[in-house]
């Protein structure tokens, strides 16, 4: 069989998977706290190509031509953690995180690119991101940017999935006997209530700082979890430029125009690969039907 047939088929498959990823982004255009994924393709496997037959002049084994990639596949989905726009909902339980954590390298402030990465001296440095911390059903922590919280009947702060929201002490936050509109959440995530005796502090939200957000695994339902072996994130400090806004929600960071262009590109590349397969098909047709005709 001609090598290129399988290469083109793998190209079609890769573009199809890429199209699926872009469609998922478009589908989640209105999901609060959603971070879009970009598909990364990788060529594989490599093959070392030689001329056929021994060298005509010297009789040595055939010389090399070079390396050929005989396939492509979708390797990973890279998340993009750019800040989503804030939209005002005026609900006291809606929180939005503004995360712009800076990192020092060799005494200098690192300038990150749009995807949240910087490459200095061959080292890849990722921009840390801040997340709300909730307790998953299995007792492990989950991280989310979706700040739609409400109070349970007993006064426990819950996420939209019903998971308890953790405070800096690692325990779920409980505010007994209060309603959400009485509670004010400050910029660093502290919950305060105005009483006759003054301002009373009820607790503080645990805002986790994930140093390498690319190590997070998306779980669906707005949650991320850590991959195995990753270190548990610490809480953000005052130096990190992280702010919590009550009454706002962070919108999805999906760029509709870019997604549509990428989708069209994936479609046309799919079509181009299809044409390649059809061309190979015609070539094989000649080999099978015309060359051997008696």
């Amino acid at each position: 069989m001609i090598r290129g047939l399988y290469t083109a088929a793998s190209g079609m498959l890769a573009q199809q998977r890429r199209h699926d990823a872009i469609t998922n982004n478009i589908a989640n255009m209105l999901t609060p706290g959603y971070k879009q994924d970009t598909a990364a393709l990788r060529s594989f496997p490599e093959m070392l190509i030689h001329l056929m037959g021994p060298d005509a002049r010297s009789g040595q084994p055939a010389p090399q031509i070079g390396t050929l990639y005989t396939g492509v596949y979708m390797d990973e989905l890279l998340p993009s953690f750019t800040q989503g726009d804030l939209t005002e909902t005026k609900k006291p339980g809606d929180l939005a995180l503004i995360s712009n954590i800076g990192v020092q390298y060799n005494g200098q402030q690192v300038a990150f690119d749009q995807s949240g990465k910087a490459v200095i001296d061959g080292q890849v440095i990722y921009q840390p991101q801040a997340f709300f911390t909730v307790l998953g059903a299995d007792g492990e922590r989950r991280y989310t940017r979706d700040g739609r919280f409400h109070l349970s009947e007993t006064g426990q702060l819950l996420s939209v999935n019903g998971e308890p929201v953790l405070g800096v002490d690692g325990e779920p936050i409980e505010v007994a006997g209060l309603t959400l509109d009485q509670i004010r959440i400050t910029e660093n995530g502290t919950l305060v209530v105005q009483t006759e005796a003054g301002v009373q502090v009820l607790g503080q939200l645990l805002i986790s700082r994930v140093d390498n957000p690319y190590e997070l695994i998306r779980e669906g339902n707005g949650n991320y979890r850590l991959s195995e072996g990753a270190a548990q994130p610490v809480a953000v400090t005052a130096e990190d430029q992280v702010a919590v806004r009550q009454g706002y929600l962070e919108r999805s960071n999906v760029d509709a125009a870019q997604s549509l262009v990428d989708m069209m590109t994936a479609l046309r590349l799919y079509e181009a690969n299809q044409k390649v397969i059809q061309a190979f098909d015609q070539t094989l047709d000649k080999a099978v039907n015309e060359i051997g005709r008696v």
Binding site: T23, M29, T154, G220, L260, M263
Partner: protein, 291 residues
């Protein structure tokens, strides 16, 4: 391609439901006491592909494995109990509540055929709560010459002592801001018929609408005291709760924000439809590989 089509179809279904909800809000913009409904979206995960450890290639940034998304679904449905504007009327029994409170109302429990259910020697009743509206006086069979304060559908309203509000047949009532009902009798004395019972709402998402501006506790509520609290003078002043006579509460639908949301949902629907037709084109291309 299949994943694209399924993912787009699922998301379009969710967007359709969101559109229906917005349309319902806009349709009920002029309904007295209507509370707008809202919901939002969440991403759906279909599968996690575990890749062979040999596929860990140099320069890979994310953990080994592919988490494949399946579109978006609706989550976080809630009824927005924000205060609606009060419209002045000239009807003495048009009552509106300012602040996060509800009247307490008694409704008879009916079975599937609509027959009243008996309990003991009387009728089985359920306590529900009302946001106000065009109340009326109903005549009572066992007390001729007197009338009882009920909602527009005829459900009696309760006082703080869990009694009904009963006044003589020809009396006109005044209801003050704390809910005290007074009337003038034939001798010209001002008599009190009780104080209307108001309950403050502590957990907005744990009361469910029943229609007719009535609310009941959501199923699964352990203790009513966690959701509703009796309003006394201190609570009324702190929360700004008051009863207004000669007023009706309008819907709390804001047309501008509903239209903005409508436009965004419409465009998202359009984009998802575009993605679905692109998936369809790809399937067509695959079908045409070999005639």
């Amino acid at each position: 391609m299949n994943r694209t089509i399924i993912s787009s179809a699922v998301s379009m279904q969710a967007l359709q439901q969101r559109l229906d909800m917005i349309a319902n809000n806009i349709a009920n913009m002029n309904t007295v006491g209507y509370k707008r409904q809202e919901t939002s979206f969440q991403d759906v995960l279909t599968s996690t592909l575990n890749l062979h450890p040999n596929m860990q290639s140099a320069g890979r940034a994310t953990p080994l494995g592919l988490t494949v998304g399946g579109g978006a679904r609706l989550n976080g449905f809630r009824i927005d109990l924000a205060q609606g504007a009060l419209k002045q009327t000239d009807r003495a029994l048009d009552l509106a509540i300012e602040g996060p409170a509800l009247f307490e109302v008694v409704v008879p429990i009916v079975d599937e055929q609509g027959e009243p259910v008996q309990e003991g020697d009387g009728q089985a009743v359920e306590v529900v709560w009302s946001r106000g509206g065009s109340f009326q006086f109903s005549l009572m069979q066992d007390m001729p010459g007197f009338k009882i304060l009920t909602t527009a559908e005829g459900y009696p309203v309760r006082t703080v002592t869990d009694d009904y509000v009963v006044v003589p047949g020809n009396a006109e009532v005044q209801i003050d801001a704390s809910g005290v009902v007074t009337y003038t009798n034939e001798d010209g004395d001002v008599m009190s018929a009780g104080r209307l019972k108001l309950m403050r709402v502590l957990r907005q998402d744990l009361i469910a609408p029943m229609g007719d501006n009535l609310y009941r506790l959501s199923p699964g509520v352990q203790d009513q005291a966690n959701v509703l609290e009796l309003v006394n003078d201190a609570v009324a002043q702190q929360q700004g709760i008051a009863v207004r006579q000669f007023a009706l509460e309008q819907s709390n639908v804001d047309l501008t924000s509903e239209m903005t949301e409508l436009i965004m949902v419409q465009r998202a629907y359009q984009l998802n439809a575009r993605a679905l037709s692109a998936g369809d084109t790809m399937m067509n291309l695959a079908n045409q590989l070999r005639r």
